[in-house]
């Protein structure tokens, strides 16, 4: 029989003692001693691969216990993380009938995903669900297929679902990444309103995102819980901040293989010219009447709220959106729909996005992931030159992964995978480098590394950068052009 705990006021302390747990072959959390008292709300932080996500996830039962004990865990725990998101997406993909023989299915509607907990948890909070859906303005999505949502939207759905399930303890791994500033503030205030009934553990990369109701910070390093800090202890807090901002070494962008460049472009042409762009699905118009020209050497920052069509716009440029054939698009000397292949277009482009990371599910070596950037493929199907291999190794060295060239990519942490995909995008010194929220999921140190790299690329001359980002703080000095997209009214057609 399920016993309902009225609120965590009556919760016990959670005690993790001498706990060691294995995550896959290559990662272990070592000898963790950690106590979470009732009325405490924690942030866990640390570098990519340091074990911060793993530490949060052991509360939800992840990892293979080697020794030690955990006691006092409440009954109902919810976790929202990249892994959980990937799992749900994977589950939905698996359901996809299109994968089998004949049928093209629409997938599960968002509403059904949101309400899965209704039947499972007596404490399910329908009113909160409605409130959250309204707050994030997601009503128009409810009947859409979950699979068709953007990454940011999926993330919001996961958050709403976890909160509406009304657990005793909620674990949120990077809840604010991928949210625009407005959504992030909304979410922070909402979390704050629930702190009396839900204990919170947040995994965060950025100190500036720590909400004011947080009482304690845990810092992980190399699979250990290195520091536990009371937020009111100013000195300890500042030290921790410093630790996370360790100075990075001098960076330089590796040269590329010049023997294998795409045909050169007419310098008088813009790289990209979009005219009167229209994109619609059924009756929903996403982009209407947009014009945009990107000249060579003109670096752009593109921003806009979730759902304003940023990714859609990028996909029109890269050729990954089918409606690129019904619009007036000129890219790299080619008017779209006149016999060019998508591979002719992709050879000028380097590209990083979270969607790419979801799709990049192959068990190949780290070196091959970088090499695939020369061929614009997911996986490697073409022979690479010795020069290309040498360049790939320089990138590995830059990322501090020199000795790991032959390790399998799919066993890396999320942040390390991201770094590798950024190297993959940059490896050929593309004419246009498209970075769609490249820092999503990265810790402060790696974020600075990436931003510094982008700045270097911006000044290096042969690559034009198109940078998409929510975070106003992550500005890049070389970028002078800004484009802002707005969400269209879903009704108009």
């Amino acid at each position: 029989m399920t016993q309902i705990l009225p609120s965590h006021i009556e919760m016990k302390s959670i005690k993790i003692e001498n706990y060691t747990a294995a995550f896959g072959e290559s990662f272990t959390l070592n000898n963790i001693n950690w106590t979470l008292e009732p009325n405490q709300h924690w942030v866990i932080t640390g570098a990519n691969g340091s074990g911060k996500s793993a530490l949060s996830a052991i509360l939800a039962g992840a990892g293979h216990k080697v020794s030690g004990s955990i006691s006092g865990l409440p009954q109902h725990i919810e976790i929202v993380s990249f892994e959980a998101q990937a799992e749900l997406i994977e589950r939905e993909l698996k359901k996809d009938d299109a994968d089998i023989m004949d049928v093209i299915s629409e997938g599960t509607p968002v509403r059904e995903i949101l309400e899965e907990g209704k039947a499972l948890y007596p404490e399910f909070d329908s009113a909160l669900l409605d409130q959250l859906v309204a707050m994030f303005k997601l009503e128009p999505m409810l009947d859409r297929s979950f699979r068709k949502l953007s990454t940011g939207e999926t993330r919001k759905i996961m958050l709403i679902r976890a909160l509406a399930n009304n657990p005793d303890l909620i674990i949120l791994d990077e809840p604010f990444d991928g949210l625009d500033t407005a959504s992030m503030q909304l979410l922070q205030s909402l979390l704050k309103s629930k702190i009396d009934s839900i204990a919170m553990v947040l995994v965060l990369n950025r100190f500036d995102e720590i909400p004011d109701f947080i009482t304690h910070i845990a810092y992980t390093d190399h699979g250990k819980l290195q520091h536990s800090v009371d937020i009111n202890n100013k000195q300890a807090y500042d030290d921790l901040y410093q630790l996370l901002h360790l100075k990075t070494t001098e960076l330089s962008v590796p040269a590329t293989d010049l023997s294998d460049r795409p045909p050169s472009l007419n310098p008088k042409d813009p790289l990209v010219r979009l005219k009167n762009i229209k994109v619609a699905y059924g009756d929903a118009t996403i982009i209407d009447g947009l014009d945009w020209t990107i000249e060579a050497g003109q670096h752009w920052q593109l921003s806009g709220p979730n759902g304003s069509g940023k990714t859609c716009l990028l996909n029109l440029i890269t050729g990954d959106h089918p409606q690129c054939y019904t619009n007036d698009i000129f890219v790299f000397g080619m008017q779209r729909g006149h016999g060019e292949t998508i591979w002719q277009i992709k050879q000028y482009i380097g590209y990083v996005s979270t969607a790419l990371q979801w799709e990049y599910r192959v068990s190949i070596s780290l070196r091959n992931v970088i090499l695939s950037g020369f061929h614009d493929s997911i996986g490697v199907y073409t022979k690479s030159t010795d020069k290309q291999k040498a360049v790939a190794d320089q990138w590995l060295a830059l990322l501090g992964m020199k000795d790991r060239a032959n390790e399998p990519y799919n066993q890396l942490s999320f942040g390390d995978q991201r770094l590798l995909l950024i190297a993959r995008a940059m490896v050929k010194h593309p004419t246009l480098l498209i970075l769609d929220e490249p820092c999503l999921g990265l810790d402060d140190i790696n974020r600075q590394l990436v931003l510094a790299l982008i700045e270097k690329i911006c000044t290096s001359g042969d690559t034009t950068v198109l940078y998409v980002n929510h975070h106003a703080e992550d500005q890049i000095s070389g970028i002078t052009q800004f484009k802002q997209l707005e969400k269209l009214d879903a009704q108009s057609s």
Binding site: D99, I100, D102, P322, G339, E359, V380, Y381, K383
Partner: protein
């Protein structure tokens, strides 16, 4: 009425056509899509193959549009949505067919005769008509206007994979063929090669075959090992477990997800690898069971192959088509009523290894079915490469649909031709295995071998391992899988 094309050929020619199959080398595709450049490609039907092939061809720089039957356009059916939302021009037959240089017929096979009869008079003189399966030409004896070129480009994967692999920069294994009676300008092969490049198939390997070899092997594979064996095996294993007192929810789950798990091992390393996943005593057990099954079922496999080759199978099936699918629908309804189908998978955890350990009989059934189908096809004159793709290669795909949808939906999802053959097989195979099943206990299905006794006779183990590895399906499988794996770790 229809006239079986294969049966009109002299024996020598029949054998020559069946044996036609050659693995093409990459440099045969150096002309890329040139032969189709600037030509107008019109696809009939926008379903699984139609949509995904069209997306690839367009992304390869080709001019693609869709023609749908008038009702599909008027009612804005899913096929219309598929085409328009992806930015394709859609028109009626009258609007688009007369402008087409190449017409891709990607409607369901059952509809081919009426569809082709309707579009053929509208086709430009000297144009090309293409299929992704040769049933209409071979089994229904469809006669195509003499001025038209007729080719086949058949991806050996579901449509969604055709697209997904292309987007990654790769492709899926593809079979191409030219209908020699319809190659007036001698350009059939060039067109088929360009089409295969346009879909990305050339990167994953192309078999140059014949309409006849494609049809006779495709039919054989789908009705025996792929759908028939898995259906029969599911029903027998489930009933046996329940009879032996195993929890029905557990039994249901072991079967529904078991096929997928064990054939995943098959996909990566063939029959050998699938059996290597078992403990030594279990491996020997599975081997012996499979030998027994092969002996009992061999006449059935021979009969299926004979009926396919001489046209009996398609004649009987087409009689049922003409009779409003009476048999097909009746059998489909029967499937829904089976105990396995009606018992939902239980809420129990089954680890990956447990599917092997407790499913020894299932492993034996897959082994027996794959090997029998392969042996029967090659004995009938079908070349090993073709026989491999139509047996072992596709088994995990069907296992996958059973994992997601069990039998009823699996049958509704596969083509009507596969489904019809599956029921024929199932009805013959259930009584055939009745005696054999009497001797089956939970040690080979449901509970696994008693683990206290792990000793094996070394000599026997060596014998079994050698037999496994020397089967011809393993030799060709290693080559063809190696080809794909090479591509993936070429650097």
């Amino acid at each position: 009425m229809s006239n079986n094309y294969f049966n009109t050929l002299p024996l020598r020619e029949q054998l020559a056509q069946l044996a036609k199959c050659r693995f093409m080398s990459m440099d045969e595709f150096s002309d890329g899509v040139e032969a189709l450049k600037g030509k107008k490609i019109v696809v009939i039907g926008c379903g699984a193959q139609g949509l995904n092939q069209g997306l690839n061809l367009r992304d390869s720089g080709l001019d693609v549009s869709y023609t749908l039957r008038a009702a599909a356009i008027a009612e804005k059916r899913q096929s219309w949505k598929n085409a328009t939302e992806n930015g394709f021009v859609v028109g009626t037959y009258e609007e688009l067919i007369p402008t087409a240089d190449v017409v891709l017929n990607l409607t369901p096979d059952k509809q081919h005769t009426p569809v082709v009869n309707e579009v053929m008079p509208l086709m430009k003189k000297g144009a090309c008509l293409s299929y992704s399966h040769g049933f209409n030409i071979v089994e229904e004896g469809m006669k195509i206007r003499e001025d038209l070129t007729v080719i086949m480009v058949a991806p050996k994967c579901p449509g969604s994979e055709v697209r997904a692999e292309y987007v990654r920069g790769f492709g899926v294994p593809t079979l191409i063929a030219v209908h020699e009676d319809n190659d007036p300008k001698g350009e059939g092969l060039a067109l088929a090669k360009a089409y295969a490049v346009g879909t990305g198939g050339h990167k994953a390997g192309v078999l140059m075959s014949s309409f006849i070899a494609e049809v006779k092997s495709d039919l054989m594979g789908e009705q025996t090992i792929l759908c028939g064996m898995l259906q029969t095996g599911s029903l027998l294993c489930f009933d046996k477990m329940v009879e032996e007192g195993i929890d029905s929810g557990y039994a249901s789950k072991l079967i529904q997800y078991g096929w997928e798990t064990i054939t995943e091992a098959l996909k990566y390393g063939g029959v050998t690898n699938m059996l290597d996943r078992l403990s030594n005593p279990a491996k020997i057990k599975a081997f012996d069971l499979a030998e027994e099954l092969k002996e009992i079922m061999r006449p059935l496999y021979n009969k299926h192959q004979d009926d396919i080759i001489d046209g009996t199978f398609s004649r009987v099936m087409m009689e049922d088509w003409a009779n409003d699918d009476k048999n097909l629908l009746g059998w489909r309804a029967e499937t829904a009523e089976t105990a396995f189908e009606k018992t939902p998978a239980g809420d129990v955890e089954i680890s990956e290894q447990e599917f092997f350990d407790n499913g020894i009989l299932m492993v034996a059934m897959v082994k027996a079915g794959v090997e029998l189908a392969f042996e029967t096809m090659t004995a009938a004159g079908i070349i090993a490469e073709s026989a491999y793709y139509e047996s072992l290669h596709e088994t995990p795909l069907i296992a996958n649909t059973i994992a997601r949808k069990k039998l009823y939906e699996m049958n509704a999802t596969i083509s009507d031709t596969a489904e019809y053959g599956c029921y024929l097989y199932n009805h013959a195979c259930l009584p055939l295995l009745a005696d054999f099943m009497k001797g089956i206990k939970t040690d080979v299905i449901g509970k696994g071998l008693d683990t206290t006794d792990t000793g094996v006779d070394n000599a026997r183990l060596i014998e079994v391992n050698a037999a496994l590895r020397s089967h011809p399906v393993e030799a060709i499988g290693a080559v063809l899988r190696g080809h794909m794996a090479d591509m993936k770790k070429i650097v």
